[in-house]
Symmetry: C2
Subunit: 493 residues, 2 copies
């Protein structure tokens, strides 16, 4: 039974190690030769591509267009928006030279000291500055608004401690940057995109999320408001999965972007930005997978169904092929992504373990006996349950099963989150509960000072003020001062 | 008639200026604040996206999978493959530091001198080195081969003289990197991908190309053979539009990538790489466009058909809307990308000029009179011819017209190339002809020395040795030495 594939640390033993091993063993990604930068392997990239394609369609349905802005940002741009530079400019890759030359003292190449740049360039950690510098020339009248651009690209933040997908120096993402005539329109766009993210997370990733507002302390550098979707991983920690920012007129003022309104007056433009990244891969993996490997939601699985023949003779294989080929054909017509793995250089047991590890949602196994009986063995990856189903009509059956699995893993994740969400009203209870993980709904006095003290003492941060949090009189868990609603505390990735 | 849009330099006056203006005026791209780096605007990016989507499908049909490798390459990697570093390492962006800090002497930020990297990192000019360093861990047995990866990404070469799309410091491209067990298989893959490129150029871009082999002098740094597709622009200059390289075992040896063959012996792996870039946008523009603006091939046009109403009263517009809306619906069902532009803040004349500039292949204009007559005015962008067509069945009519235009502009470009391709047998004739532009088919003695002298004296380079060049005894145009086939000389972009 292909023991090497199964040789995966158990979640209960060491969740963090389980994750690290799984990402590598399931061929999703690996560390590269460059500190903190990952290689996304073909199987991992295929999942990311499905995410991209779906998100991209959803963005376009809201009127967003794609564009591309430069990788490099002049150093001086970063200091234009004061709060932005505070939050971002510290750890980033700096380009100082534009030429190498042969080492005069020996082998290899050295940096040519004569090729120093007049102004250093920064590899984008995010692109607000260069984009708003560009928008200045694109916007002059209310007729040019709204301007709704997105780019899919790589960005770089020189993280000290990295983990595959969750925190890497280079990562892939999309960043949307919109410009609006009014505050209300910009605010509405920021919320609209948050809703796109939460729809995507729930309907495609099968990851339930809480929509909320970040506290001032956790806001994006330069934003007036940061909206977030927060997911809970199996270990009870929170993972921020996407953010959408209402930027007010901060970047418009920093880069002097004005427009003439309908009343013929000059005004600064209102802005949003929003992004999700390859970090979503981490959320996907940690929400659903188990001790046998990945569990992928059918809506994002590169292979939704694998069919494996079990046979002794070439004749038997021939017979199975004849039954399977039309099934493959019909599944494809139903837009089901299917792989028929009849390669003869691996044993069925090895294949079973491998596709389990890779999280393929449905496995069909077909032997000579099954064909005689007109049945096929069906395994669903999420529950590992096996049963027989009639061969006749198997395509529709599988199609429905995929939807069942999609719903099933969402429900399971939601149940887990609900079971791991606690209302807490005393500081002692808070300190005790936070050690066990989960989301804590507690009152907070609204000050950054208290927020930071709680973090210092417990490593818990305020993940968000949930958008649907009901008004409720209460007292801050830490200071006892009055509070109007509960916020979500958790430890986080 | 929206004169500002038409204010485009004529090709006959100054072809180069016409191109530069057109790229900007048609909203394809513009210079950014960073020297040599472009901003690809939404309309330009939409064309690039259609190219990407189509090429990506074609790659996948040959078994290629996408992956992602790091942006940054350790400096030492570049000197591992000796010829490769000769050809590439000179002009590139060098990352030397990983942190900024607040300027202690005043405003803004400065590079933190304490954050110097131990080894400098280079922004990838191409990724052979980092990919082959990765492949070492992915390949151990013949069962791991072939390994067929592609990545869509940005790359950077510090070009001194840049032109939008044609030569920019940062550009977008795809780079395929394959590993094979045998020389023959790798050579066949390099040719297969060249054929994918030529199919794409001819069937989607409507750009006829010559497939050929580069001379040793023009080969990719590190390749044993470079295959190319060469297109002719309207000014008679050549544009290299895609290359595919047979890399032999050079990178496998430099990065120690071996596999155990079926006979249980260790062997070095054989390699190919192949790429096309946003340079294709330049080829597309310069092959078809005219003094009125872009002419886009229907297979890549983001908007294939625009419908413009002409009306005086709101009632008339209402009537036209009622006729047009179902046409739009049916066109979409036929997979035709259509825009109904009934915005009332621009006059029809402005719209006509704008969509002409943007190269929309088919324009339908509909007025109240047309509806009475059951006809519609049809304009095809390639010939600017207008005629009336019956409203009944207009969708199929348009669909066919789009195919006619696709074929028509290909035929026109092919005719142009044929008319501008000359067999030349004397040096005087060569020098005279090269001034007039076009491809020159001439004999060459096969030496780099002669190739370079011809380039020095005439600025003509050998674009390729065409794959279908017939054997023919002849004498080198320059030295009179014997030659077995004609090669293509041209000036080039």
């Amino acid at each position: 039974m292909a023991k090497e594939l199964k040789d995966l640390t158990k979640r209960a033993e060491n969740y963090s190690q389980w994750y690290n091993e799984l990402v590598v063993k399931a061929d999703l990604a690996e560390q590269s030769a460059v500190r903190g930068c990952m290689v996304i392997k073909p199987y991992g990239y295929a999942i990311w591509e499905k995410m991209q394609r779906q998100l991209d369609d959803m963005f376009k349905q809201t009127g967003v267009q794609n564009a591309y802005f430069p990788l490099l940002i002049p150093k001086s741009f970063l200091s234009r928006e004061a709060e932005h530079v505070e939050g971002f400019a510290k750890e980033c890759a700096v380009v100082t030279h534009h030429r190498l030359k042969n080492d005069p003292d020996g082998k290899g190449v050295v940096v040519d000291p004569d090729a120093r740049l007049e102004e250093e360039l920064i590899i984008r950690p995010t692109s607000e500055t260069i984009i708003w510098n560009t928008y200045r020339n694109w916007i002059s009248s209310y007729r040019d608004l709204p301007l709704l651009c997105n780019q899919w690209c790589n960005v770089m933040r020189w993280e000290m401690r990295t983990r595959l997908f969750l925190r890497t120096a280079e990562f892939l993402w999309q960043e949307g940057h919109t410009a609006h005539a009014t505050k209300e329109e910009a605010q509405a766009k920021a919320i609209e995109m948050l809703n796109v993210y939460s729809d995507f997370a729930e309907k495609y990733m099968a990851v339930p999320v809480v929509k909320g507002v970040k506290t001032a302390n956790e806001r994006f550098a330069g934003a007036l408001e940061t909206y977030t979707i927060e997911a809970m991983m199996q270990d009870g920690k929170a993972l921020q999965s996407g953010t959408s920012h209402f930027l007010g007129q901060n970047f418009a003022k920093a880069f002097d972007v004005k427009y003439i309104n309908k009343e013929n007056q000059l005004e600064y433009v209102w802005a949003t930005s929003w992004g999700v990244s390859t970090r979503l891969m981490g959320a996907l993996i940690m929400t659903h997978s188990d001790d046998n490997g990945l569990v992928l939601p059918p809506h994002l699985a590169p292979i939704q169904v694998v069919i494996i023949p079990v046979y002794k003779t070439d004749d038997q294989l021939q017979t199975i092929n004849e039954v399977v080929n039309p099934i493959v054909e019909r599944l494809r017509q139903l837009n089901v992504s299917v792989k028929y793995d009849n390669a003869d250089n691996k044993r069925p047991g090895f294949k079973f373990a491998d596709y389990e590890l890779k999280g393929v949602p449905v496995r069909l196994v077909l032997g000579a006996r099954d064909i005689e009986n007109g049945t096929v063995e069906v395994m669903r990856r999420d529950t590992l349950e096996k049963h027989n189903a009639p061969l006749a009509g198997i395509e529709e059956y599988v199609k429905n099963l995929l939807e069942d699995i999609q719903q099933g893993i969402y429900d399971k994740a939601l149940r887990h989150r609900e079971e791991m969400t606690f209302k807490v009203d005393t500081w002692d209870e808070f300190k005790e509960q936070i050690e066990k993980g989960g989301f804590i709904l507690a009152h907070w006095d609204g000050t950054t000072e208290t927020e930071e003290k709680i973090k210092e003492e417990t490593k818990a941060t305020i993940r968000c003020i949930p958008m649907d949090a009901p008004e409720e009189e209460g007292k801050c868990i830490y200071t006892g001062k009055p509070s109007k609603r509960r916020v979500i505390f958790a430890r986080n990735y």
